[in-house]
């Protein structure tokens, strides 16, 4: 840290997934920020943002949940860092709606018994890494570059859309994940499904839909020659990681006519697209790994599709 320059420091809203099914996202985020010497202080007494169910049921409820969390976040200094794409989207959406609609804001302020913190800057951790910490500095901080690792950066549907809400990147042609990967020494592959929906909303009610959508994502990543997929959302992670076995059972061998064989033959040494397991990494897991954080503290043991063989193969473990 340069003397006289203030150390970056953020308040932190993990969200429920990061304390449960997406624990590895939480611990790798904390490990990464520690490695980068960036402060991260959890908002006290935070609760669920309502994610996708709440706004389907009751708009006022979903806005109030986020508004309350935002006002709790006001108690901790620093911009609010959010890792989960769904929490990020809901918090930003709430600020956006309440800024636009005064009467809604008044209703919400009655519900949460206080002012809504509409001007607390809410930032996705990728924004913090790429723009505030900075790509150049990030590249300098890399201790173990992820050389030879072909990664399919997966944005999903919430990170950049609708364009006026997250303000994270170009909603149709984003590049922040690719930029981060390049800074870490990895090779982002060009692939078609980086912004398709994985079907998270239907994960319990219509699993068939989820299998179809997630299968298409995994397939196109394989065709593009990716070794793994990088995500920034615990819901995407859930579908792509946990369901790989189910997807294989449901879809069997991929239809070679569906994808043609041009990419397959060139990129897989003549073999047709296969059903290789594709480890799913959180952006913070890969970044922390590159920063030389010990793999034991990145939660690799708690995922279903084991990433260790791949990492060993690439001499990253």
């Amino acid at each position: 840290m340069t003397p006289g320059k203030k150390r970056l420091s953020y308040s932190y809203y993990p969200g429920c997934s990061l304390h449960a099914s997406g624990r590895e996202y939480d611990i790798s985020t904390r490990a990464l920020f520690k490695a980068l010497n960036v402060g991260l202080k959890e908002v006290p007494d935070w609760f669920c943002c309502g994610a996708t169910p709440a706004h389907n049921v009751d708009e006022l409820l979903s806005l109030s949940l986020c508004a309350k969390n935002l006002s709790l976040a006001e108690e901790v200094e620093g911009d609010l860092a959010v890792a989960c794409a769904a929490c990020f989207s809901r918090l930003k959406t709430t600020q956006h709606h309440l800024k636009e609609d005064d009467s809604k804001r008044k209703q919400v302020e009655v519900a949460i018994d206080g002012p809504a913190a509409l001007n607390k800057p809410v930032k996705h951790i990728m924004e913090i890494l790429a723009r505030e910490y900075g790509l150049a500095k990030l590249e300098e901080s890399v201790k173990k570059p992820l050389l030879g690792l072909k990664v399919a950066p997966y944005y999903g549907c919430l990170l950049t859309r609708p364009p006026e809400v997250p303000e994270l990147d170009d909603c149709e042609d984003p590049s922040i994940m690719e930029d981060l990967l390049r800074a870490l020494g990895a090779e982002p592959v060009k692939w078609s499904h980086r912004m398709e929906c994985c079907g998270a909303n239907f994960t319990l009610s219509r699993p068939g839909v989820v299998l179809k959508l997630s299968n298409a994502i995994l397939e196109s990543a394989r065709i593009a020659g990716a070794d793994c997929i990088m995500v920034a959302c615990p819901l995407c992670h859930g579908n792509l990681d946990i369901r790989q076995k189910e997807i294989k059972e449901a879809y069997g061998a991929p239809d070679s006519t569906l994808f043609g064989n041009i990419f397959g033959s060139e990129l897989h040494g003549g073999s047709a697209p296969d059903q290789r397991d594709l480890p799913i990494f959180y952006v913070t897991q890969l970044a922390a790994l590159a920063m030389g954080v010990a793999s034991e503290s990145l939660g690799f043991e708690s995922v279903i599709t084991d990433p260790k063989p791949l990492l060993r193969d690439k001499q990253l473990l």
Binding site: E172, P174, S192, I223, F259
Partner: protein
């Protein structure tokens, strides 16, 4: 002046609904000096004007006030009527009791009182009015046409055929514009080159046309009838007077792999080139950025092989000044290219369409070149990536246009028709192929147009899908097009071999800068603005400058040619007189009081104010004063408001008149 007539108009019900016009007329009659007043339902109609004329004669009126609509609408009408009755037209004024009163108020009593006040003060203005005589200026009977596409060519030929000299300036090395790039044209499917190239030759051979290609407008001075236009002739590096157009230089040029702009970057050209074989003039130009000689000083092959010795590496840009009386602007359009987002562009791009990264997604003009016999594939429809014949082609309409959220809200007008044409051309050449079109609505309002579109759908069996495309991606050697069909209410996925985007029509690059040089107005998209959408569609608000073609807004060929001929007709009307009459409402300087501070010169938007030296009999300089060139003055009055010594005045709006109006209240 003491015998003024006041004529109050009902404007149907436009005025009388809110203003008690009878009362206004009655009150006007009581103003001292008003000898006659009346009201009438339509003062502008023939009986209304007759009423005015009769009253002037019967009551020996020496001034007329018409209380009616805006002077913009009918001042000329009433001044003409007054003139017919023997009055000087500038002794007739209008009081605006419609836009300034009846339209903007609801309370009848208050509006009536206001109308009476307006009439009262305008009567004072009439009382102090003076007879004015029109200013005459000479006319240079020579026209300048900017842009050598079909619009510029048509306008130039029409004016030249009428016996006037024309200077045609084109910034590219050849005339022909976009129309020369097209394959076949709707709705008759005649070959574009076959109707275009003879016209290009006519231009080159016309004794009355001076053709400057590879030239740009540098500066425009002067005013209607008397423009001085500085034209920059960019260095061609080939002497036009010596070149015979044999083409040996082009075949011997060692650099041959430069993307050909005329073929939308799909064909190749050498560094010394003509844009296309039928170019006019058939004189090559050296593209200095790509020429080895200019980049490293080592080559000079073209100069060695040139028999007549026309290649001149030392050539420099030159300037000429052309005196012209009228200017026709015909700078045309460009197609929006969605992968390139220039700084300041309002367009946000279509990242999910993959244009620019997937080679088989092309725009409409590129398809024209693929389908054209003179194009890079010799007229065969072959896709750019691997040269295979595409069996499934998807056309997407309204890319960039009619998309407010993307920045352009207007309809580009020609795409429905040219896409229908593309599907036909495709089916004519690839018999086992299938064309799909994603569209919002089919807009085909032209003679024979709807029939043409129906033919594409019903007889040639293009599949039209109403709905838009969300994204496209490469899968193997196919492009997966994901869209919606809103008539069936379902999602559609098509595996296409080639995708053609009908992208928005935009004004040419630099259209705004040219407009600033010309002093004409343009809209937020940089299309040039006509003086009146309905009644003056080819004139600019700046006198003596006319518009033709797509520089004013998206247009198809028939509309463009019609407008070009209309612009030519306006030029000929201007040239029909030896002297031009201009409105005498211009500023005049009282040289006795003017101190020569030239504050007026700084604020004059028309550049009408010059410095004039006053000398005594011995020729010694006494002082410098301002002088208003009446031919240039726009009569806006800014100088009058600015002048600290009150020595500049606008005829018809003198300080004395304004003070009298104020005192009347």
């Amino acid at each position: 002046m003491s015998r003024i007539g006041v004529f109050v108009c009902h404007c149907g019900e436009n005025i009388s609904r809110t203003v008690d016009v009878e009362q206004v007329a009655k009150a006007a009659g009581e103003i001292p000096g008003v000898a006659y007043s009346c009201d009438y339902k339509y003062m502008c109609s023939d009986p209304g004007q007759t009423l005015l004329k009769k009253a002037v004669a019967e009551h020996k009126l020496d001034g007329v006030l018409v209380a009616a609509c805006s002077p913009r609408m009918h001042e000329k009408t009433f001044r003409k009527a007054a003139e017919a009755a023997g009055l000087n037209p500038y002794l007739c004024e209008m009081a605006n009791i419609r836009e300034h009163c009846s339209w903007v108020h609801e309370d009848r009593d208050m509006a009536t009182a206001k109308a009476k006040d307006i009439v009262k003060l305008m009567v004072e203005r009439v009382r102090k009015g003076k007879s004015l005589a029109p200013i005459t200026v000479p006319v240079t009977k020579r026209a300048l046409v900017i842009g050598g596409g079909i619009a510029g060519i048509q306008a130039a030929l029409d004016v030249a055929d009428a016996g006037h000299q024309v200077v045609l300036v084109e910034r590219d090395p050849s005339i022909g514009g976009h129309m020369a790039q097209l394959s076949e044209t709707f709705p008759t499917l005649d070959c574009s080159q076959c109707i275009m190239t003879p016209k290009m030759v006519d231009v080159a051979n016309h004794p009355n046309i001076t053709l400057y290609t590879y030239s740009e407008i540098e500066k425009v001075d002067g005013y209607i009838g008397n423009f001085q236009v500085t034209v920059k002739h960019k260095a061609r590096s080939v002497d036009e007077s010596k070149c015979t157009g044999c083409g040996v230089c082009m075949t011997k040029c060692p650099k041959k792999k430069i993307p050909n702009e005329f073929d939308q970057g799909h064909g190749m050209r050498p560094a010394i080139y003509v844009p296309f074989p039928q170019a006019v003039p058939n004189t090559p130009v050296i593209d200095r950025e790509n020429c080895t000689m200019f980049q490293s000083g080592k080559c000079g092959v073209c100069a060695k092989v040139c028999g007549p010795g026309a290649v001149d590496y030392e050539q420099k840009d030159t300037l000429t000044v052309e005196d012209v009386g009228a200017i026709v602007v015909a700078t045309g359009f460009k197609l929006y290219t969605i992968d390139r987002k220039p700084e300041g562009s309002p367009i946000q791009g279509y990242g999910e369409f993959g244009y620019g990264t997937i080679p088989d997604i092309i725009d409409g003009m590129t398809f024209e070149r693929l389908a054209s016999a003179s194009g890079p594939t010799g007229g065969k429809i072959l896709r750019p990536s691997d040269g295979k014949e595409p069996k499934q082609v998807v056309f997407i309409q309204c890319v960039g246009s009619r998309a407010r959220e993307k920045g352009i809200s207007y309809c580009s007008k020609v795409c429905c028709m040219y896409t229908a044409k593309h599907t036909m051309l495709y089916h004519h050449k690839v018999h086992d192929g299938q064309a799909y079109v994603f569209f919002m609505d089919a807009r085909t309002p032209g003679k024979g147009y709807d029939e043409f579109w129906r033919r594409a759908v019903e007889e040639e069996e293009a599949v039209y899908i109403r709905g838009m495309v969300s994204r496209m991606y490469q899968r193997g050697d196919k492009i997966v097009v994901m869209g919606s069909d809103i008539q069936v209410g379902t999602q559609v996925e098509i595996e296409a071999d080639l995708v053609v985007l009908a992208t928005a029509v935009q004004p040419q690059d630099g259209a705004d800068l040219l407009a600033q040089k010309l002093g004409i107005s343009y809209d937020k998209y940089n299309f040039y603005s006509e003086a009146h959408a309905k009644l003056k569609p080819v004139e600019c608000a700046t006198a003596g400058i006319y518009l033709a073609g797509a520089c004013q807004g998206p247009k198809d060929i028939p509309d463009t040619v019609s407008q070009a001929s209309a612009a030519a007709a306006k030029v000929m009307t201007l040239f029909a007189k030896d002297k031009l009459e201009r409105d005498p409402v211009v500023a005049k300087v009282n040289e006795k009081y003017c101190v020569g501070c030239f504050a007026c010169k700084k604020v004059c938007a028309y550049g009408a104010i010059e410095e004039k030296e006053i000398r005594d009999r011995q020729g010694n300089l006494v002082k410098k004063v301002a002088y208003v060139n009446p031919g240039v003055c726009g009569g806006c009055g800014t100088c009058q408001a600015t002048c600290p010594s009150k020595s500049i005045e606008l005829d018809g709006y003198t300080d004395e008149q304004i003070m009298a109006m104020i005192e009347a209240l």
